[in-house]
Structures are given as C-alpha cells and as structure tokens.
Assembly symmetry: C2
C-alpha cells in the first residue's frame, strides 16, 4: 500500500511568510496546504503562488467549503490546487457539486469532519465517490485540552473501514502515530512542528514511525 504522506499546513496571515516556510520545508514534505487562514488572508493568489513555486508537490486548499461549492471548487482548482476540503456540515448537494468540479480537474475532495456528523453521512460521501476525509482535533479544542480519545480512534477506524483515506491533524507528534495503526492514513498534517527549527528532524521521526506502522 502507499505510505501515508507528510503535509505542512501553511496558516500564516501573510503570503510572504508562507512562501518562506514552504521553501524551508519543501524537501521533506509531500503535500503543501494553503490553510484557511492563509486563503482568507491572501485569496487565491496564495494558491497560485505556491503552485508556481512548488510545481511537483501536492497542493491542498483548505476552504472547508460549506456552500457555493461549484464556484469555490473551480476557483481553487483553477488556481492550481490538487485537493480541496469540503465541510462535513455542507449539504450533500454542495459536496456533490464540489466532486463534479474536482473530477473535471482530476482533483480530489477531502471531507473535513466537524460538527454533529453521522456514519450515515459518511456513507453518503462514499456513495458520491469521495475517497478522502480529514479527522482532527480542532485547534481550539486542542487548546481547550481535548486529546485523542478512544471514541476518536473508533470513529477513525469506522471511516477507514468505509473506504475513506484519512488525513489526520491536530497537534500530531511522532510518538502518537502508533495510535492510528491499521487506519488508512493519507497524510499526517502539521504546521508549526514542521515549520520550526526542528522541522526536518520532526519529519524524519514521522517518516520513521510511518515505516514502522504502515511499511
């Protein structure tokens, strides 16, 4: 099977800083994400610029699309994104609209899981042909001290069993990766942990754990 990849989330509030971080990490990440914060700060110019600077990386635009799916998806794919995120709270018609545009661009949709979703919702995503979802502790929940729970891990296993590849995020550290063994992991996403001075070592440690549990 394909090994899980490493994804940097660029959540800077200005493009100049984001460009600098992306250059610093490009050699040890597989996927570059224009985070929601960066996308709202700088618009699709952020996606276009990072696409131009990193033509060979997978590029994600984290829009958490909730409505207006077709237009938002087209904007992001035209700007050079390979994947976009769509909120689990979106109406199924919105998710379908995003999927149709993604297909045109040979792109992919990632369902970003927030709110009171159900496994029946997840099945309806899979029925549309969606193959990816993102599972995380919210930044704010993390700040509030809410950790990875047995309930989280159980839900992740169920999603994985439905056929969804999961990108996993929210304070990811190498020592936690064993928790996700057996789950179809697409990427592990981190921001500051990869952008900081220890970024290269963190990436190497993540890769070591990935080899160990998915290799």
């Amino acid at each position: 099977m394909t090994l899980p990849m490493i994804q940097i989330a660029l959540d800077q509030t200005d493009l100049t800083s984001a460009i600098e971080v992306a250059r610093r990490v490009e050699s040890f990440v597989d996927v570059i994400e224009v985070g929601t914060i960066l996308a709202f700060a700088e618009g699709m110019n952020a996606v276009r610029t990072l696409r131009h600077n990193h033509p060979d990386h997978l590029l994600v635009c984290d829009m958490k699309t909730t409505d207006g799916g077709a237009i938002l998806a087209r904007m992001a794919f035209e700007a050079g994104a390979n994947w976009i995120t769509v909120s689990a709270a979106a109406h199924i018609a919105t998710i379908d609209a995003c999927k149709q545009v993604a297909d045109e661009f040979n792109g992919e949709i990632q369902i970003e899981i927030y709110g009171n979703w159900t496994m029946a919702d997840a099945k309806s995503w899979v029925d549309l042909g969606i193959t990816q979802a993102i599972y995380h502790r919210s930044r704010d929940a993390e700040l509030a001290g809410v950790g990875w729970t047995p309930d989280d891990l159980d839900k992740m296993r169920q999603l994985s069993d439905l056929g969804l590849e999961l990108s996993i995020t929210g304070g990811i550290v190498p020592d936690d990766l064993y928790l996700f063994e057996g789950i179809k992991a697409k990427t592990f996403i981190a921001g500051r942990a990869l952008a900081g001075a220890q970024g290269r070592e963190t990436a190497a440690a993540l890769k070591g754990q990935i080899e160990r549990f998915w290799g």
Copy 2:
C-alpha cells in the same frame, strides 16, 4: 422594535465587480456582505476596500469560521468588518474564541446554520452571549429545488424564541416575507436579486413587506 434590514451578499469572484455592485446598491441596502466566495477570491483586501468605500454601512465578512477562530476573527475585524459568520459546526471553543475577539472590536458573531445542529447547540451559543444566527436554504439545496418547509419555519421560530435575531437568506423574494412574520428577523439577504437591473425595486418591495409585517 428595530425593523429587519436589507443585506446584499457580494459573491463575485473578483473585487472589481464587487466594488461596482456595492456602489450600485449602497443607497438601498443597510448591510454589505463580503461573501465567502469573494473573501476566498481576494482575501481581506476585499473587506478593507469595501470598508473604505462604505464607511457608514454595516459590513459582514462571511467566513463560515470552523476552526482557528481567534485568528480569523481578528483578521476580519481588523480589516473593518462589523460582523463575522461562524459555522454552527464549529467546536464551542472556536465559537467562544470568535466571540471574545468580536467583543474587543465591538463586533458581533453570526452563527451560520448548516449541518446536523440541535436546539441544545443553539442554547449553548446563546449562553455564550451570541445574539445572531443566519438561517438559509443552501445555494445548492435551493438549486436542488428544496424550498422553505414548515420544518424550517418551526426551527426559525424556536431559534427566535431562544433570543437569536435571524438573518434569512436563500432565494429571498418579497412575496415570501409573510412566512417569517413573528420571527426576530435581523436582515433579509439577497445577492443577484438586489444587484440586478430590478435591484432598487426589489429592495423597495422588501421594505414594503418589512413595514407590513414588522412595522
């Protein structure tokens, strides 16, 4: 009581067109919204520019914030927004983070209702001091032919009874306003219906119905 206001949603994919629409409608709308599409297209520059062009209008940034609440809220309020939208699917800690930043700027949070929310969720928003929510048919649900249902109207009444002022959107036409009688309506939101050639007449017809049912 204060009468419901009229809000234009700017969902253009470029700022030049949005500026033009805003100038055309400024004399007959109370609230100008930088829609999610425009905000993702042009970033916070869209909010700054519209704030500069329309210093006396209420300005909303429709971010549908789902995570990273404090940073996103600060970006939008610093750029000049009076209100920002936060997704009903956001963790309560995210909603709280947005509210705290809003209070700093004398701004307000609008909960944008999508997904599988519950009345218990709504009560938790009110408990945080939130006073506004947005209720709508999604653009895509509307395209799929899903109309205003008795269930929608019942939920809107319950939200209103909890103390939330509602902004109502999704194919709003003057002839539908009677449906919402008795509901605490903050604004009626429209896009193309106000931006088009008949925009001024549509606004006048909406105001007539507002006087009739809320006056």
